[in-house]
Symmetry: C2
Subunit: 409 residues, 2 copies
C-alpha cells in the first residue's frame, strides 16, 4: 500500500470480533518485487461450512473455477489468498498452480483438496509461480497468528488502506459474530469486480442456508457498487461459518435468528462494499445514488448504475458542478421505462429539477455547499412506479487516469 | 471552437461537393455569450425527401420528438440547427420554442411546419430563448450563402475542428453526390450521442427507401463509435435528398444504382463518425477494435463495445501499455459467449495472446512502436464462431477529466 491513502478512508482500522475456529496467518511469497506479506492463510475448524459468490465474467480465473467446483460440497478447512498475481488467463499452467496450492494446503491439514478455497488478484496473464506459492504457504503454516489488520493488508493490491467490518447477531440466546475483510479499489463494478471479500462467522449454519443468505446480502451490497464499470475475472466473496458459537444450527430461511443473522451479514457486507468505493482509484468524493419511483426495483438499479457509471456525471461531481442535465442524460441512456416530464432530481436535500423542469429559483447555496463536501447524494425520482434502489460510486478524477495509465510500468 | 485542436484532426477541412437544391446559411443567434455563428439554416428545394435516425434515450429533447413526428411524412424544406443550448429537459417551454422555430421558418418558405427539421445541442435544462431563435432565423434568411465549412463550424459546440465528408455514386448514367457535416466530441456512444449529423444528396430517392438506406448505414458507422459510453438526449442524423440530379428515381432496395448509393452513403457516414472519435474529448489516440470469431455479428459488436468503453483499456492505451489482460477483462464482462482458452488478442500486427495464453517470447518492439503511434488497432479473435464487428473509440486521458470537470463554469 504505497499509494497515498484515500481522503475518503476511515481514520483507523476498526476492532473486529475474533471468530472461534479461525486462525489467520500471513507470509511473504514475494509474488512481486516488494517487501510485504502477500499470502494470507486462514485455517478453519473441522465442520466449517462455506458459501460464495463469484464473478459473472465469461473469462474467469482458475481460482474462480476452483471455488465454483468446490462450493457445492459446502465444506471448508482453509482459505489461501495471493496478492500481486491474479493468475488469470494463464491456461493449464494457472490451473496447475491452483491444484498445487490445494494439494499442499490439504496435505498440511489432512483434509480433501476441495476443502481448500483459493483466490488471487493482481496482474493478469502471468501464471502464478508454484514454487513461490508453496514456499509462502509453508511459511504461513509455521507463522504466528496474524491480526485482522495484517490479513486485510496482505490481501490488498492497489488498495490505499486496509478494510474490515464486524457485526453480531443473536440466534436463540446465543450471540454470534461476523467479521470480514475486503480488497479492491479499481476494476470495480456490480456482479463483482477486482474485489475479494472474505467473511467469517462463528455461527452454525448449513451450507445451503448460508449460500442463500450470502446471495441475498451480496445483491444489495457488493453488487450495488461501481468504481469504473469494469468487472474483474477474479471477483470472489466467500463466507465461512465455523459453527463454534454453539447456537441452534440454522438450516433454512425464516425465524428470528435467521433474520437477525441476515441483517448483521448485510450490515457487514454493506460496510465492506462502501469501503471499496471509498478506496476507488483516484476517488475524492463518495457518491450515493438513490433511485425511487422506477417501474421495479431491478429497473431502479439499472438506472442508478447507469448514472453511477456515467463518466460525464462522475466528472461533474469531481468538478463540484450541480450538472443535473448529465443525470437526466444518464437516466435516459439506461433504456429503462422513464418519462422525461415526471423526472425529479435532487442534490443533497435540495430539489433541483421537478417533473421534468428545473426548479425555478432553487437555492443554489446549499447545493454548492453539498458538492464541496466529500459525501455526495444524488436522489432521482423517476415518477412512474414504486421501484427503488441505491448504489454507491465515486467521482472520476485525474488520479484515476494517473493510476491506470501507468499501472504495469 | 476555442479549445486546442485535437492532435488527431485532419490538416484541413475537405472540399465537399455542392448539392443542387440546397442553400446553406448561418447567423449569430447568440445563444451563449460568444462571438460566433450558432444558428445554421439549410433551405431545401421543393420535393426534397428526408430520412432520420434519433437517439434511443428515454429522455429525448423536444427537437428529437419533433423530428420523429415529422419523419413519417417524408418531406423537408428546411433544417434549422441551434448550437449552445440543447433545449432538452425544458418541458412545455422547450416544446414551444421548437414550434415557434417551425412556424417562423415555414412562414418564410410557404411550407408546412412539419417540413421544417430542427436540432439543438449544448447545455441541457435551459429553454431555448424564442426571441433569439427567431431573430437568428430572420438574420439567416437574409444572409449570403455559407460554405460547408462555415456550416460545419456553426453546428459545433465543444468540437475542436469542423467535420465534413463527401462521396459520389452513379445511378443509371447519372452521377449523384452526397455531402455531410457532423458535430460531436463528448457524450458519444452508440445508438447516438451528443452528435448531430446532416447529410445531403442531390439524388432522387423515395423517403421510405432513403430511410432504409440510412438505417443500414448508421448501424455500421455512427452506432459503432463511442467516446465515453454516454448517450445524449439530442442525437440526430438526418439525410435529405433534393432529387435535383435527374437520376432515375430510386424507390426500393436492390439494383446497381441503389447499391452504389448505399456504398457511398456508408463511406460518408463512416468518415464522419470517425471524425467524431478523432475529436473525442481529450483524445490523443484513435483506436480501432476489430472482433472476429464471435457467436454472431451482434455478439461481436457488444464485445467490441465492452472493450471500447472500458476505462481500464482506454487508460492503458493512453499510457501506451500493451495491457492485454485488461482486454481479456473487458471481453469477459461483456457477458457474451466466449471461451477463455480460445481467445486471441493482437496489438497492431503482433499477436500477444493466443488460445488463452500469452504468446511466449513475442516480439515486444513492434508492439511498443505501435502503441506510441496515434492510430491503435486491437484485434480480438473470440475463437468460437463467425461473428464480426469493428468499432472505433479514443483513449481516456487527463484532457477528458479537465474538459468535463469544468464544463459549465
Amino acid at each position: 500500500m504505497t499509494n497515498e491513502k484515500s481522503p475518503l478512508a476511515p481514520d483507523s482500522f476498526p476492532g473486529l470480533s475474533a471468530i472461534d475456529g479461525l486462525r489467520l496467518k500471513v507470509s511473504s511469497a514475494r509474488y512481486k518485487k516488494w517487501d510485504r506479506c502477500d499470502l494470507t492463510f486462514a485455517e478453519l475448524a473441522a465442520g466449517t461450512t462455506v458459501a460464495g459468490v463469484t464473478t459473472r465474467s465469461r473469462c474467469p480465473s482458475p481460482e474462480v473455477e476452483w471455488c465454483r467446483d468446490a462450493l457445492p460440497h459446502g465444506k471448508a478447512r482453509a482459505l489461501v489468498v495471493n496478492a500481486g498475481n491474479a493468475n488469470a488467463f494463464t491456461g493449464h499452467r494457472g490451473r496447475a498452480a491452483v491444484e498445487a496450492i490445494a494439494a499442499r494446503a490439504s496435505a498440511h491439514l489432512g483434509c480433501e483438496p476441495r476443502e481448500i478455497f483459493i483466490a488471487s488478484t493482481g496482474v493478469i496473464g502471468e501464471p502464478l509461480p508454484i514454487d513461490k506459492a508453496e514456499a509462502g504457504l509453508d511459511a504461513a503454516f509455521s507463522a504466528d497468528a496474524a491480526s485482522w489488520e495484517d490479513a486485510a493488508r496482505a490481501i490488498g493490491t492497489t488498495d490505499t488502506f486496509p478494510k474490515g467490518a464486524t457485526a453480531s447477531a443473536v440466534i436463540g440466546d446465543t450471540t454470534v459474530h461476523i467479521s470480514g475483510i475486503v480488497k479492491g479499489s479499481g476494476m470495480i463494478a456490480p456482479d463483482m469486480a477486482t474485489m475479494l471479500g472474505f467473511l467469517f462467522t462463528d455461527a452454525a449454519i448449513d451450507a445451503a442456508c448460508l449460500q442463500a443468505m450470502l446471495g441475498r446480502a451480496v445483491a444489495k451490497t457488493f453488487n450495488c457498487i461501481t468504481v469504473d464499470s469494469d468487472t474483474s475475472t477474479s471477483d470472489t466473496v466467500l463466507l465461512f461459518a465455523t459453527g463454534q458459537a454453539g447456537n441452534a444450527r440454522l438450516t433454512g430461511p425464516g425465524g428470528a435468528g435467521a433474520d437477525a443473522f441476515v441483517a448483521a451479514l448485510e450490515a457487514v457486507c454493506l460496510e465492506l462494499a462502501q469501503l471499496v468505493v471509498r478506496d476507488g482509484e483516484g476517488a475524492r468524493k463518495f457518491i450515493e445514488i438513490a433511485v425511487k419511483g422506477a417501474e421495479s426495483d431491478a429497473s431502479a438499479r439499472r438506472i442508478a448504475l447507469s448514472v453511477a457509471n456515467s463518466p460525464l456525471v462522475k466528472t461533474a461531481i469531481a468538478g463540484e458542478d450541480a450538472n443535473w442535465g448529465r443525470v437526466v442524460m444518464a437516466v435516459g441512456k439506461a433504456g429503462e421505462p422513464a418519462d422525461r416530464d415526471r423526472l425529479s432530481i435532487r442534490f443533497g436535500a435540495t430539489q433541483v429539477a421537478e417533473n421534468g423542469l428545473a426548479v425555478e429559483g432553487y437555492d443554489e447555496a446549499p447545493v454548492a455547499a453539498h458538492l464541496t463536501g466529500d459525501e455526495i447524494e444524488i436522489g432521482i425520482d423517476v415518477g412512474i412506479g414504486k421501484g427503488r434502489a441505491t448504489v454507491w460510486t465515486c467521482d472520476l478524477t485525474h488520479g484515476y487516469i494517473t493510476i491506470n495509465a501507468d499501472y504495469r510500468t
